[in-house]
């Protein structure tokens, strides 16, 4: 299968001034395939946001290349189709909101890609419903609370229905219910075939993905399914990360009852394991 995004030896540094440069990404290569659900984790300042901005050409590498659907992000003529394919929700919602009315902001991207009006109305309504912001559609976005802005920012990208969405800590200011709702949306979109890339500091959120990429100092240090990644508890702790709390609980229990599996990353798995263990013990 053709990858939707392919990075080849990507290096990038920010120029602070004429003399100083901060090298952030170092020789990164990986591919994302259509339909994947990928979480990117790493400590503060490890380069996650910088990497995300490379995925649709907001930043372009100093050396190496990023290919989206086979187009190089350095190719100016392809910018638009690249961004139509890969949408980004930024870490900071204020930076994302363009228009002065919530619904017009959601429509902004659709106008740019020339969606006909009837269809546009439909998509705006849909996207606002999904993030539960319909009652706010006529409000000016700069007068919303932190979490409300974050929801509007998500709606703006959802409405564009790109092939792939990059969420850069898009749920950081949402309450746990809001976060669950957004996770469900991600799951649903992914089931409908959309590629999802999410940057997060919540390990339980990362455990939802099909694949985790761990970055440290601008390099990929681990890449694999969550179950594999979360087996490396110590390495993760050295990278200032952790394993989900259900995994931690399973490990504690495992140390007492060694038939209780410690290979657990999701809540429902944990519950199932308790049930299984319980039944077996009763059986014997």
């Amino acid at each position: 299968m053709e990858p939707i995004i392919r990075l080849e030896n990507v290096s990038f540094s920010y120029k602070i001034n004429e003399k100083t440069k901060v090298s952030v990404l170092k020789n990164i290569s990986f591919s994302i395939f259509p339909g994947e659900y990928v979480a990117i984790i790493g400590h503060n300042g490890s380069g996650k946001s910088t990497l995300s901005k490379h995925l649709n050409g907001i930043l372009t590498p100093d050396s190496g290349d990023v290919w989206v659907h086979g187009h190089n992000t350095k190719d100016v003529n392809k910018k638009r189709s690249i961004r139509q394919a890969v949408g980004t929700v930024f870490q900071h919602p204020d930076n994302q909101i363009v228009a002065t009315i919530v619904e017009e902001d959601v429509a902004f991207g659709l106008e740019n890609i020339g969606v006909p009006r009837e269809e546009m109305k439909k998509r705006v309504d849909e996207a606002l419903n999904v993030v539960k912001m319909s009652p706010f559609r006529h409000r000016p976005p700069h007068h919303l609370s932190g979490g409300q802005k974050q929801r509007v920012a998500i709606a703006g990208v959802l409405a564009m229905k790109p092939d792939c969405i990059v969420f850069d800590e898009a749920t950081s200011m949402l309450d746990s219910f809001g976060r669950k709702e957004v996770l469900q949306v991600m799951r649903k979109m992914n089931n409908m075939g959309m590629t999802i890339i999410t940057v997060t500091h919540h390990m339980s959120e990362a455990a939802e993905a099909d694949r985790i990429i761990v970055i440290e100092g601008g390099q990929i240090v681990m890449d694999g399914p969550p179950r594999e990644i979360f087996k490396h508890k110590l390495e993760l702790e050295n990278l200032q990360l952790e394993v989900p709390s259900v995994s931690q609980m399973a490990e504690v229990i495992h140390s007492q009852f060694n038939t209780f599996s410690k290979d657990i990353i999701q809540e429902n798995e944990f519950i199932e394991e308790v049930e299984k263990f319980h039944k077996e013990e009763v059986g014997t």
Binding site: R83, I97, V98, A99, T100, I101, E111, G114, P140
Partner: protein, 280 residues
Amino acid sequence: MSSEFEISRSITIGQYVPTGSFIHRLDPRIKLLVFVILVVAIAFNTSYFGNAIGLVLSLYLFWASKIPISYGLSGVKPAIPFIVILAVLQLLFQGQLFSDGRVYVDYGFVLITSESIRLVVVSAVRFIEIIFLSSVLTLSTSTTELTHSIQSLLSPLKKIKFPVHEISLITTIAIRFVPTFAIEMEKMMKAQASRGADFGTGGWWRIVQRTKEMFPIIIPLFNIALSRAEDLILAMESRCYTPGGERSSYSVYKAIAKDYLVLLVGLFFSLLLLFYPFPF
């Protein structure tokens, strides 16, 4: 008593307030056109009578947009000190240029004549009219509508390779930026006040004090505004905005009879203000 930091509250330009009034529902292109011709006409009219008409007209429009007049006035309030200073300076120093008419005071370089008084009064009133009119326009027209209308009004110029799209975009961003700027300023003042800076001790009329307090926020404010502008452009680009690209539109614009009627009325007033020889 609310917060001394609610600056965005008194910025009426660039805020969109949906009230669903008759003015809101006008075709934005026509609205913009009428606005332009009215402002031009007002700018050229120097009679008391003409500006009285202009003032009444702009107040009427404000009223018709169903936006509380008090809100419009709060937009004029921060400008009052400047209008007053400007008026005094003009009165004191520009008399020599307008020495016609009856002479009231002639002392050293200070020459106050009926014409120089007219200049001062008319330009102050004119300023207020223009603030009101631009407030009505931006309060009743969303930025998206504005961009589309600027673009379509300028589109005939495309033939002579005039960068219509870019100009309309820049204008919109500029208008969009007025409230952003106010909000950034509010945030900056809150940030500094939280860490021990002094704000909000003097009333708005204490110009010197207020100005002095403003100095430490000006430079960081510009830095932040610049980086906001950069972010804004990035955000637009990352949602597929391409300068000069074809766009569809969220709202439809179709001028109907009532829009043309408004245009006619606007034209009438503009011509009146421009060419009618008002008695005083």
